[in-house]
Symmetry: C2
Subunit: 347 residues, 2 copies
């Protein structure tokens, strides 16, 4: 068991040449079935595995995707990235792709990392997890012809349909529509919203889902709806204050939908009445405390990201990507849970 077998060993064992072995691996249709079988059994016998680095040197492709591991953001919703990463790694594997991690301290540093990884032929594509209008990173990537896909829409007016910028995102508006509709269906009318101040791409999008649904409902008037909205910073403690503000509105509030699980958790803690509250992201906290939340279908996002990457890279687009094969918007789904056994402390 000295050396690992190479193509040459397989070729000798099967009584063919190197190239034929290579063809069996990469272009099986070129090889006659009888020959193919001989080679395949030799591969199995010897336990041959292609040497990844050698292949990459020759083909100038790394079959590796780079992704930045963000420093824990606020914390609670960090698990979304975590789950996304897991889905991505799993699916990349089935396509023969690998995920390489890197970290960066700021956007400029990140660009430096892009360059480093690209020049070393370490990766041949990047996945970015959050971008913004005029993001220097996407600009650099486009200018330098690096292929990449972002999880999250670029929220600038022009950017959104830029054919050079491939993205996959979750339809937050749809998610909040679902959440709001769910509460309306249970007979509640005055549904409040706790979100982030505008402008915030994702925030404004989610808010719209609530707003539109409320306007279409037969409940509060437009003026009343406006009073049922509170925007605040992200964080549990801000959620506490926000729900108290909502509860003190004339007419009160009968249910709340939030832009995040952190805000929802705060709302649950701060709420003096036991009103239903729905979060966003379906984080472990929501699951363990037991409140409803909108779940992002991260498997689908991962699939979309890889489809776009391999499609763009290989030059061929998948058949079912009918309308816009460069962007993909997937629908989240609402996870309904009973109101948890959690309330305010009698301090």
């Amino acid at each position: 068991m000295g050396q690992l077998p190479t193509v040459l060993d397989v070729a000798t064992a099967a009584g063919v040449s190197r190239q034929t072995v290579s063809n069996v691996l990469n272009s099986p249709e070129l090889v006659r079935p009888a020959t193919r079988e001989k080679v395949e059994s030799a591969i199995a016998d010897l336990g041959y595995r292609p040497h990844a680095s050698a292949r990459r040197l020759r083909t100038q492709k790394s079959s590796t995707i780079g992704i930045r591991l963000d420093p824990m953001t606020d914390g609670i919703s960090g698990s979304v990235l975590d789950r996304f990463l897991h889905a991505l790694t799993e699916q990349a594997d089935t396509k023969g792709l690998r995920m390489l991690l890197f970290t960066a301290t700021d956007p400029d540093d990140e660009i430096r990392q892009f360059q480093r990884l690209r020049d070393g032929a370490d990766v041949d594509a990047f996945v970015l997890t959050s971008t913004f209008h005029g993001d220097p990173r996407t600009e650099w990537l486009i200018e330098n012809g690096q292929s990449f896909v972002t999880f999250g829409r670029p929220w600038g007016i022009d950017d959104m349909n830029d054919p050079q910028h491939l993205w996959v995102d979750v339809d937050g508006r749809h998610g909040l529509r679902e959440a709001t509709t769910h509460l309306l269906k249970t007979g509640l009318r005055r549904i409040g919203y706790i979100g982030w101040p505008s402008p915030s791409g994702t925030g404004d999008d989610r808010r719209l889902g609530w707003l539109e649904t409320m306007r279409e409902s037969s409940g509060p008037t437009t003026a009343e709806i406006a009073e049922l909205e509170v925007t605040t910073q992200e964080g549990v403690s801000f959620g506490v204050a926000a729900v108290r503000a909502l509860e003190s509105v004339p007419g009160g509030v009968e249910g709340v939908v939030c832009a995040s699980d952190s805000l929802a958790l705060g709302a649950l803690i701060g709420s003096t009445r036991r009103i239903p509250i729905i979060g966003y992201d379906n984080t472990p906290v929501a699951a363990s405390i037991g409140f409803s939340s909108v779940e992002q279908p991260l498997d689908e996002v991962a699939t979309g990201v890889l489809d776009l990457l391999t499609g763009a890279h290989g030059g061929k687009l998948s058949d079912d990507a009918v309308t816009d094969p460069r962007h993909r918007l997937v629908k989240p789904r609402l996870i309904v849970r009973d109101v948890p056994t959690l309330g305010v402390a009698t301090r």
Copy 2:
């Protein structure tokens, strides 16, 4: 800006040969300072980066470390792995190492992945995040001469000091000593413990920290201490039941230390009195709800893991690893927070 520069381009630009450029990069001490400077400025001018795959093909080393991305375990404590991964990636980068992700459905599948990644020369070491006595994975790795380090001790009697098994771990016993001592110092005497059933390597270790401290204290008798312990499954809801059991013990309980943040969160939710509760892992949940918790120094763990890997790999051990240069136990620290504004609901 057609092709990326190669060693030959740099050599030509600097007026030296390929090998000299290679020496500047890999064995600078062999090159005369004057020559070295010339080469270095040529490298900078051309923006040359060595082609990672070519180097790996020649040297048969990948400078890449593989790590399995676990499927989200129970959820809440999943963020520990996340933070560890971040620390690892960051520090690996400073040593010129890269982190490659993979997933696996079970231990056997994981071994298959080891093989795949090794044969493809994709990685030259692995980091395992949790091992157990008689773990088939570590056995395979040792048998096949693969270098690896585990985060977590192998809890078997013989395994622990196996010189072939490098590990880094956090001293959970010390952590629970700190937590228990902290509560004792505030004047409380009857400190309870909520943990997992034996045998559990980490669980038993943490429990010991609480038990020893209680025995050394001037508080409850040994018999009373035994009543202050509840073991249960991991999970928030189990924590709820556990704290209620403790509160109904004759004499009650004045404070609780837990084996995990999930249990601590459950205890907080289930507790009818407002007693201080300390968790373990200092997860985002602990931070946002605001209860005390024992924090694992993941940066130090990451440093240790890489030290052991590069030490074992390069054959040289760091100077300050005095006692046992193959294993490293780091001390966690207690993060103290006020009792949170969270209690039981008046259902």
